[in-house]
Amino acid sequence: MIEFVNVSKVYKATGTRALSNFNVSIDRGEFVFVVGPSGAGKSTFIKLLMREEKPTSGEIYVNGQNLVRLKRRKVPYYRRTLGVVFQDFRLIPTMNVYDNVAFALRVTNVSAKDIRSRVPYILGLVGLSGKAKSLPEHLSGGEQQRVALARALVNNPPLIIADEPTGNIDPDLSFEIVDLLSEINKCGTTIVMVTHEHNLVSEFDHRVITIDEGTIISDDRNRGYYDE
């Protein structure tokens, strides 16, 4: 599903070496936590996965596509195969919950009829059926993140990338979000979640990849226990 081969990334502007000789392989249907201190290279890992950045050297394969060779105009189509959730939710403030979710479908030329049936279904899945008409500013942080998650899910992507999805919400609700992601994972969706919340990681029985200074320092495939 995801394959990083000897990937290095140096930011030219600052000269920062974000990743060096980074190798990782994630299979279809896995749920992976990516942890590490700030500045370890987690954000760069996510940016490379989303093809926001290209690596300085090495190869990246996602879903059989070589991201290094992917043409610029093909990038939007690649991104449609991803569901992305951010720490700051990134909802459009002028659109209500329904439109924020429907937006991801409209972008991909889904017919109006399909939009009308898919959006309510997904909103029901994340427990927000009653809030369809609300604007993001009238929702709690946890609810906003569930809207973002609904938007990520609505295209039925094979891979979901979550960048610190619980960073801005209460611990109780964080648990709920990861629980929801785990449920989605059970249906076969691959999930990569970047976080620095250790107790959250230890609550779940998922693979944990620890990054520091641009390389993987541990890769615990079998259990949820995480020890610094």
Binding site: P76, Y77, R79, R80, R90, I92, T94, F103, R106, N109
Partner: protein, 302 residues
């Protein structure tokens, strides 16, 4: 892109004018203000030019003929005059007619001139002509003087000088002011659009992350820029029309004879309306569309 999403994007563009109404208001305000200023200066300088042009044509040049020419020779001079480009409205006045004209001016002159009719007449035959372009008056006068049978040419040199320098000053300063206004407008408008797009960079960013193509992101901005430009053009056009007619009405009520004759020569708004509307619409839509496209492109590189 499918038809359904095309319609959706057009709607999105129109909706976002309302959703971002504060910035839309700022953009329309700036565009309208700039167009009003430019339009008003253009109308002002066009009118001054026309009025000065009219005053110019009121000047008479007297082509004085030598004494003792017979009718045929006088007619020859008339034909020669017809060949000079810069003059029109030529009119022959015989010395007898001139004498009567002078006599009619006042009883004193009548007393003085009575008895000088016929062979005693000390006056001269002349052609009265009008000059089209006073700025080349000197050349025209020299050309007239070279015609055989012409003894002297009397032209209003000082007036000509004054009028042509007014005309030149008005056109040059008018163009200068309009040019400055256009530059200033472009800077202000560019800034307004920049802020509008900047305020929505997050939205653009989100679209990029959910896999929107660049064309998909641009189209609503294109529609928005187009509509804002068109709306501003129509508003500016309407306001200018009302304002211009209001000023003309005020001028027409002024009792001064000079202002009255100037008023007769103002340009009616209807005469320039279509051209002005075309310029406003073209300029407004052009700036709206290219401005938003230019600044949106900056946020597409994610």
């Amino acid at each position: 892109m499918k038809g359904s999403s095309f319609g959706y994007l057009i709607k999105e563009g129109a909706k976002s004018i309302y959703a971002n109404r504060l910035m839309s208001f700022a953009s329309i305000g700036t565009l309208v203000a700039c167009m009003l200023l430019i339009g008003a200066s253009m109308l002002f300088s066009m009118n001054v030019n026309k009025i000065v042009g009219f005053a110019e044509t009121q000047n008479e040049v007297v082509v004085q003929l030598e004494d003792g020419l017979d009718e045929e020779q006088i007619a020859d001079v008339g034909l020669e005059l017809g060949l000079v480009d810069n003059i029109y409205n030529q009119r022959f006045v015989s010395k007898d007619e001139l004498l009567e004209e002078q006599k009619a001016k006042s009883p004193e002159l009548e007393d003085l001139l009575t008895g000088l009719e016929g062979d005693q007449n000390p006056l001269f035959n002349y052609y009265s002509v009008r000059v089209k372009d006073l700025s080349v008056l000197t050349g025209t006068v020299m050309r007239l003087e070279s015609i055989s049978g012409v003894s002297a040419v009397r032209a209003p040199d000082a007036v000509a000088e004054a009028f042509s320098s007014i005309k030149r000053a008005v056109s040059v300063s008018g163009m200068f002011i309009v040019a400055i206004l256009i530059v200033v407008s472009l800077v202000i408008i560019a800034n307004t659009i920049k802020v509008t797009v900047f305020n929505r960079r997050k939205e653009i960013n989100i679209m990029k992350y959910v896999g929107a193509t660049d064309a998909f992101i641009r189209l609503p901005f294109f529609v928005e820029g187009f509509l804002l430009g068109l709306l501003s053009a129509l508003l500016a056009f309407g306001l200018l029309w009302i304002g211009y007619n209001y000023v003309l009405d005020a001028v027409s009520l002024n009792p001064s004879a000079f202002i009255q004759s100037a008023y007769q020569n103002t340009i009616p708004f209807e005469e320039v309306a279509l051209e002005l509307l075309a310029w406003f619409a073209g300029g407004g839509i052009g700036i709206g569309v290219f401005g938003s496209m230019f600044f949106v492109n900056r946020y597409l590189k994610v």
